[in-house]
Amino acid sequence: MVVVVATIKSVSFYTQNDGQRLIYTPFPEDTDTVGQRAVNSILNATIMITVIIVMTLVLVLLYKYRCYKVIQGWLFLSSLLLLFFFSYIYLKEVFKTYNVAMDYFTLAVIIWNFGVVGMMCIHWKGPLRLQQAYLIMISALMALVFIKYLPEWTAWLILAVISVYDLLAVLCPKGPLRILVETAQERNEPIFPALIYSSTMVWLVNMADTEWPKRNSTEAATAQQEDDGGFNPSWVNQQQHQLGPIQSTEDTRREIQQMPSALWCSSVFFRGREAGTRRLHFYSMLVGKASASGDWNTTLACFVAILIGLCLTLLLLAIFKKALPALPISIFFGLVFYFATDNLVQPFMDRLALHQFYI
């Protein structure tokens, strides 16, 4: 989380609107009337959501018909792209901002090392902390890319719609994630390292949660109660991986089902901290946008809101003992807080400071 915030502080580079748009959002937002803008942003958001849904369905189909190679190749390619290309762009922006000269040679060394270690950590073996760190960095990168290239209203709308979709996809019996998990259960297969949902190279891959249960499976057994509590967060984490950046939902889930229940002592704790990558990605997007358009109060409020949402979700998980999407609650809180703070608290604080009136 801290890494996310730190990255967001430097988000200022990414808020320059150079007029470039992702091909998924073909409608511009600097139109003349408010109504026009609203319609455009709704259309943009619809397109993105449709893309995401299609991706999920494609993934489910691929999985059902055992086209594992395709999925693996996809994952590999997308993580490759992310690690090398996006970090290249990121470094470029950072150096430009701090007005530091950098030569191609050193840059090549840095990026090469970063990328190769990342690929190894994610797709092969590596120390757990490193893997987590990589996943965090990758989600932050993705969030930054999104913030830069999505116009304002579209971004907010997408956040809202994603939460709703998450809710639906997880809880409805026809949801693609459900199907995936059930298929996995039927086949009783070992965890599949990092599935990918999106067809575009832009989406990320996440292995953390897959690895997590593997490593934690050797921990001591815990009380039954904790097991349930542990089961759910990890399940949730998997749900987080649903779409977009992160993967491995099915994997983690399957793993959980396969493992004897008495394994989640530390994993409970870790799961709570190690948010699903996709969730992380969207959270960072939210906070990033907040910091881009507001000032510190708003950012802090959003941050707090997300944390509260996270805790609430964990609580709900423990109560319901079912798979729940963690995205909606936190994002909902985040959004509410953001808009409330931006419109209500900020002018209030400004007025107070102006009149030197201390409460």
């Binding site: 470029k92 150096f95 430009k96 007005n99 530091v100 000269a101 950098m102 030569d103 191609y104 040679f105 050193t106 840059l107 060394v109």
Partner: protein
């Protein structure tokens, strides 16, 4: 290969092998740090004087007077 089931001598030899790798890796690190530091100092110092070549090698060029 389960770590606990290995007899002691094999564990020792395994440790030795890994230790050698760690040593080699440390050596590599030192070497690379030295090489990179020298190159970076040279580059930053002489970048302006090299004129075109300096610009060509540069990834980002800072604004202002060097």
């Amino acid at each position: 290969m389960n770590l606990e089931r290995l007899p002691n001598e094999e564990k020792l030899s395994l440790c030795r092998k890994y230790y050698l790798d760690v040593k080699r890796s440390a050596l590599g690190l030192l070497l690379w740090t030295a090489v990179l530091t020298t190159w970076i100092t040279i580059f930053q110092h002489f970048r302006a004087e090299w004129g075109e070549v300096g610009d060509y090698l540069s990834f980002t060029i800072p604004l202002g007077i060097p």
